[in-house]
């Protein structure tokens, strides 16, 4: 069995296959066209391609899905970025994107980030159509596809980003999270999520209370008048150490005039996502396209099914080499398919679509495309409602 390990050197061979047979162009086109409610939307969208040897091509735009498809198949881009909708005079707003970055080792933080932000975007801001995309290495993006999000002004985007930001300060700042009363519901809700994962992430995975160095960093965040150091040093078990901190916090709350929230502040400082403010606020930015390939890891930027978030494993996201290999595997009943193909030649386009769908369904890409389809159906239902409303308004005399 040929190995499906990924080797960047094989990209020039794999990419053509990927773009010809696996890349879900019709879903992609649908996503970018918002189900056809806005005219000319797709035509005004900007793409950029990064080709072999880091050649960067910008300001690409296409009139039809077919054009895009042909161009991509010709160029075989290593990376695809999608940007704001533009016309020659005005840049229109488009999908809103939030990017969260984490340290390279830990996916749990990404899970926390997605749960906190997804809840807020939905419950607090009312955004219904949120597409989370794995970047292929260590980040996630969220594309907010609601009409309302498209119309957000720069000031509004900036306000949303600030609302969602809790960790402030660079390397020089020791204490990056400070909580004061009243504790806003957004913070309480976020804390709930953090607390679910904290023990597993911080105490086990990161051994926060284990190594001397990290313990010192944590103690630097504790108020100076805490007098439990003796006991703390005696205690060796990490969980017990954290319990000591929590107990101190509890005690301090009952004696202090203002609530002391330092144990919450510590948890947030370690676990709360750091937003990439520039990407979130800017409108003219180009962002990694879903189903793009990450050149270093070979992984496909797949959409994440948030309802199954805890099961998501970034290391099992398919690589381009895997899916190309899966594609080439002979299957039982292939002969029959070839005959059917010949019959369908009359309806060429349909045949191509059907073949493509059979193709990717054979690969590990299938479930991600299926999820993408569901997402698009949800969007389509909203747009349909929008269309009906629009046409009703036009009918009024």
């Amino acid at each position: 069995m040929p190995s499906s390990d990924y080797d960047p050197a094989s990209l020039p061979d794999l990419l053509p296959l990927y773009y010809r047979r696996l890349f879900p162009f019709s879903q992609y086109y649908r996503w970018l066209s918002y189900g056809g409610v806005q005219k000319n939307y797709f035509q005004n969208r900007e793409f950029s391609f990064t080709l072999k040897d880091d050649i960067y091509v910008r300001y690409q735009s296409f009139s039809t899905q077919n054009e895009l498809e042909k161009e991509m198949q010709k160029m075989n881009p290593y990376k695809i970025d999608v940007g704001a909708v533009y016309s020659h005079r005005v840049i229109f707003h488009t999908l809103q994107s939030f990017a969260a970055d984490i340290c390279s080792k830990c996916w749990t933080l990404m899970t926390i980030a997605i749960r906190i932000l997804d809840r807020a975007l939905q419950d607090d801001f009312g955004f219904q159509h949120r597409l989370w995309v794995y970047s292929g290495r260590r980040g996630v993006h969220c594309w907010v596809c609601d009409e309302a999000a498209r119309k957000l002004s720069v000031a509004a985007r900036s306000a949303v980003t600030e609302y969602l930001s809790l960790v402030k300060g660079g390397d020089e700042t020791i204490k990056k999270v400070v909580l004061t009363e009243p504790i806003h519901p957004f913070i309480s809700n976020s804390l709930k999520v953090v607390k679910e994962y904290f023990s597993r992430y911080a105490l086990h995975d990161q051994d926060l209370m284990g190594s001397k160095e990290s313990v010192e960093k944590v103690l630097a965040l504790v108020p100076e008048d805490i007098l439990f150091l003796q006991e703390f040093k005696k205690e060796k078990k990490p969980e017990k150490r954290w319990e000591l901190i929590e107990a101190e916090a509890l005690r301090k709350q009952s004696t202090a005039k203002k609530g002391q929230y330092f144990e919450n502040e510590i948890m947030l400082q370690y676990c709360y996502p750091r937003l990439d403010a520039n990407v979130s606020k800017g409108v003219n930015h180009l962002l990694k396209s879903p189903f793009s390939v990450h050149p270093k890891t070979g992984r496909i930027s797949v959409p994440i099914n948030v309802s199954e978030l805890d099961k998501f494993d970034p290391f099992s996201v398919p690589t381009i080499s895997l899916i190309c290999e899966e594609l080439d595997r002979p299957r039982p009943g292939e002969e029959k398919e070839k005959v059917e193909d010949a019959k369908e030649k009359a309806d060429e386009k349909d045949a191509i679509e059907k073949r493509k769908s059979r193709d990717y369904k054979r690969t590990s890409l299938a479930k991600y495309i299926k999820y993408f389809d569901q997402f698009l159906d949800g969007m389509a239902r909203s747009w349909k409602g929008e269309r009906l409303r629009n046409s009703d308004l036009q009918k009024e005399f």
Partner: protein, 513 residues
Amino acid sequence: MQFGGRRKKISTNPQSELYGQHLQFYGQPPLENISLSEFETFAVERLKLLKTVENLGVSHVKVSDQYKGKLESQLKTLNFPYRPDADDKKSQSGPTEYEKRRKDHISHFILRLAYCQTEDLRRWFIQQEVDLFRFRFNDLDPKQQLPFLHKNNLHYDTISSEEKIELKDQLINSSFGFSGIKVMEHEFYKVPFQDALDLVRLRKVYLKQGYAYIPHQDIVTIVLNDFRTRLSKALALTARSLPAVHSDERLQPLLNHLSHAYVGQDYSIQKNVGKISLDQIDSLSGKSFPLCMRQLHQSLRENHHLRHGGRMQYGLFLKGIGLSLEQALQFWKMEFTRGKVDADKFDKAYAYSIRHMFGKEGKRTDYTPYSCMKVILSNPPSQGDHHGCPFRHSDPELLKQKLQVYKVSPSGINQILELVKGMHYQLACQKYFELTHNIEDSSFSLNHPNQYFLESQKLLGGGKDIKREMDAPQRSQENSASKGSAATQEVAANTSQHLAEMTEDLESFFQEA
């Protein structure tokens, strides 16, 4: 086929809809024809109103009873709407409520024409209109406020008690200083989050499904911001149609006059030229000069010299109070030659720039006497300079000493220093005016050194000429509400009669330039 629930409105006059309440957002311009004299009256009276708003805003807390009382009385006097519950069902003397609201509507739009031209004018106009709007909006019964907002496309709705109970904890935790009781007692509004960005940004408000839940006290801020934004955009648009407006010869002089009036004119046009003799200057500097000019004059006398910044500030001031070019040349030469400068050098080096100030040389760049704003904000003095605003630029200790030398009482000095600490430099100067003239309440709001001089002269009985110079553009300043009824009523009554006269005055006023 059923069409949506839209009912046709059978009102003949869309404007009567607008006048349904005593305040409005001024979204629709007036569409009728009016006479030129009505045009002028309306404009001038609204300007008086806005000047009052400005004066009161500076000297009172905006929600105090005193402020409200005085503003209301001015509204009444000038026949602007002032009572939210007024209507025309009861017969009354004087203009009807409808007429008052119509005047409010039209006058606002006229002033837009005058005040859209520069950033300063716009800022001033917007500020006063926002303050006026705030006053009127707060006067509305809470039950009337919501319908008013809805009519103006601000679809804010209050939440029901049931919803408040459901969301009580969240509401308590998202608004500072709200207990459970307070939540139940106060109104909360549900507003699309895009309309409350400042609160969202700082996380000072509860968000649910894209709506912000805002307590009543914050909704006023939001409404005012909306009013301000709308007006700002409208003024930008208005500015574009100005060329067409200015080409109308009937309107141009009036509009110019109106926009100058907010500043109380820039004193670039000289009146009373030659009415002041050079030997009066020393005594005038003690009696009628603002502190900055008194200081400059003193330094000039002591050092027989002033640096460029001081020469400009003081020289233009002197021009503004009525010195002729010949007098000015004589004045400066006399003083400088007492010092290190000989006659020849003066003629070569300094005379030119004095002539320049009077517009007799080269390119006539800005030769208008400096306003307070300019003195305070630009060209701060350095070592060896004596120009600038002493309230702004002098060390408080030195300022105190200087005031002591000028025999200002200790309590007066303290009051002045307090104002300086709060960065209210012009108010400090006004206080200095009051203390040195022995009056309780200066009836003007100071924004120009030459204005200080004229007001002082007026107070000290400086002749009919000065009074007439003050009349035309400064009527608006005389009639601040704090002055009392006599002057106000008189002018109000005379307005319509004397408008023709005033217009004539205006035209000659400008032709003299």
